[in-house]
Symmetry: C2
Subunit: 363 residues, 2 copies
């Protein structure tokens, strides 16, 4: 029997989002990952708790922005202070992962990383951990860059897709070589992807050996590993230094070219066995909360009458809804949103208008 | 030249409504007539101010319920305290008018009354007063019971209609004998009424000599004038006494039988020259406030984007509306209503549900 090599697993929670799509609850100082919209805990707290049985607090990192670091500390009191890495400005995921890999590499020469966004909703934490463990086995056994994929349930145009190559082995959950990454497709193409059965949704959750991703960052993103390597022990980059790093996603910088070139390292995907949502807008909440017989999803002190397919998130006040369909109503202490479900992706229209009017207290 | 007989004009403002149709702003303690929803003043204050050039405060009466008397006093500080008549319980308009006529009769043997609901919106106060003056001339000159009618602009099924008989004279605004009163008609009948040109909307605003209405109340509503006649100088009926009076409207008790019987007194209608609304629901407010180019009517700190035919009444908080049509949004400090314009007449559905749940703080 072959025993897996002993490697320490680190978790990197990417909590850098600014989240205008969840206005009026999300604000500059309180983005989506710091809100408790999917469960009673915040999405960040859920993300860390979901990984905790696999990864202890000492090996869990959170990367976040300056204006959110204090809230992250408050929400995760058990996390060592040194495990919160602060970006002076958001530069997409490649610099974030380079920074985290540097932190891990300085502490542990033989390590594996699971990289997760702080603002995704995952219903079944055990299935999630089973999938991550399987991805760790693939990453350690083959040196692959592994991503988690989701069997698509409809032709979503807001997600990236992964085209499956050959299956890797007979273990479960199934792992495949990635043939190709596809960006958010038009609706007709998304329907073809679904129909073919050869595509998974790309979750943006990654597993790889630290040494492998660092080698790939060195190869594809000029200077990035060297720059973070020169930082002091606290790994706090200056704004001027960080702004010079290319603001590029790890998908575009590393995953896509590596899969396209083929050869080594392998790019693999594990077909996840959990329900997942990137919670892209208020419209996604109904799926997480569950709908009643009329398709309504409700939280708080709310009365709905003769109303269908409507999501209501109440606050301290009573919300009464009568005779409407396909709406989202979100009541924050100082602001209220009434929005068509079909326009829930476009809440930034309101945020832009607030900026235009200079109503900064609502931003 | 014939000079009109000298008669003193008294105004009776009926402010007894409970107004569940304007929830969440209207509450048991704060019915529609005490709210400033049509203009900056409350509807009661507007009603009294509109009459003031015709009727001084000393001859203006307000009839209201016990729980609203204090608010009426606060809203009308110039009105003598004795001019606020308090009903222990609402018994429709006939007992209210009997009580007011008793108050007037004790002070002035030769008087005329104009009776107005406190919760109607009238755009042009001068035209209103011209119409009332004309109705006074008709009432004094002919002894008629006079009602004010409105040329209908569409086939409203929520109003009563008046069928016109022969024109009375050549003065303006035109006055007609009333051939018949018609209750709220079905839609097809309302359309026939409009098409015929022979019908006016019934405003429920009346003008008559005090002696004439008292004679008619004696004739049609057994004992009512005698009962209020036995009250002490303060005219404060007890609940047990008042509850014995028939809870009947002046229309059903007096106007309709008198018009149907014909003969004397004459029942007349003056065709009003002002814009009028009984402000029956939130949907009526857009007409009063005026709509923007997209058909939206807005008050308060509100952003509407890609939204049409929607009425928003903001409170202290920001209200943002995105991508919706035909809605009413009303934001009160402790409760919020989101309602289809088509269901605005049915807001009592919410009030009933609040009663069922025992959420008394919102009633």
């Amino acid at each position: 029997m072959v025993r897996a090599r002993q490697t320490k697993l680190f978790a990197v929670v990417m909590a850098g989002g600014s989240g205008t799509r969840f206005w009026p609850l999300s604000r500059r100082a309180r983005p989506k990952q710091l809100l408790s919209i999917a469960s009673r805990r915040t999405m960040l707290q859920d993300t860390v708790a979901r990984l905790a049985p696999l990864v202890p607090a000492q090996r869990t990192l959170v990367v976040t922005g300056r204006q959110h670091a204090e809230a992250v500390r408050r929400q995760l009191p058990r996390l060592p202070a040194a495990n919160i890495l602060v970006e002076p400005t958001g530069r997409n995921t490649a610099p974030c992962i380079a920074l985290a890999s540097e932190w891990i590499d300085r502490r542990e020469p033989d390590s594996t990383m699971v990289v997760v966004p702080a603002d995704h909703a995952i219903a079944n934490a055990r299935a999630f951990r089973r999938t991550v463990s399987r991805a760790v086995n693939v990453a350690v056994g083959t040196g692959a860059l592994v991503t988690l994929g989701i069997r698509p349930s409809y032709a979503e145009t807001g997600y990236g897709y992964i085209k499956l190559g050959p299956v890797l082995d007979r273990c479960k959950p199934a792992a495949f070589r990635v043939e190709r990454f596809r960006e958010k497709p038009p609706a007709a193409q998304a329907r073809r992807f679904i129909g073919s059965g050869h595509y998974l949704w790309n979750t943006g959750i990654f597993v790889w050996q630290t040494a492998v991703i660092r080698a790939m960052l060195r190869r594809h993103v000029s200077g990035i590993v060297e720059v973070v390597g020169k930082l002091g022990a606290d790994l706090r980059p200056s704004r001027s230094m960080y702004e010079k790093l290319p603001a590029v996603s790890i998908d575009v910088a590393v995953m896509e070219p590596t899969a396209t070139i083929g050869g080594s390292p392998l790019v693999a995907v594990v077909a996840a066995e959990f329900d997942w949502s990137d919670v892209g807008s208020w419209a996604a909440l109904a799926g997480l909360w569950g709908r009643d017989g009329d398709g309504n999803a409700i939280r708080g002190k709310v009365i709905v009458a003769e109303t269908t397919r409507t999501t209501v998130l109440g606050s301290r006040r009573l919300v009464a809804v009568l005779g409407v369909s396909d709406l989202v109503v979100v009541d924050a202490p100082d602001a209220l949103l009434v929005c068509s479900v079909r326009r829930a992706q476009d809440v930034r229209v309101i945020v832009s208008e607030l900026q235009r009017r200079g109503w900064r207290e609502f931003l």
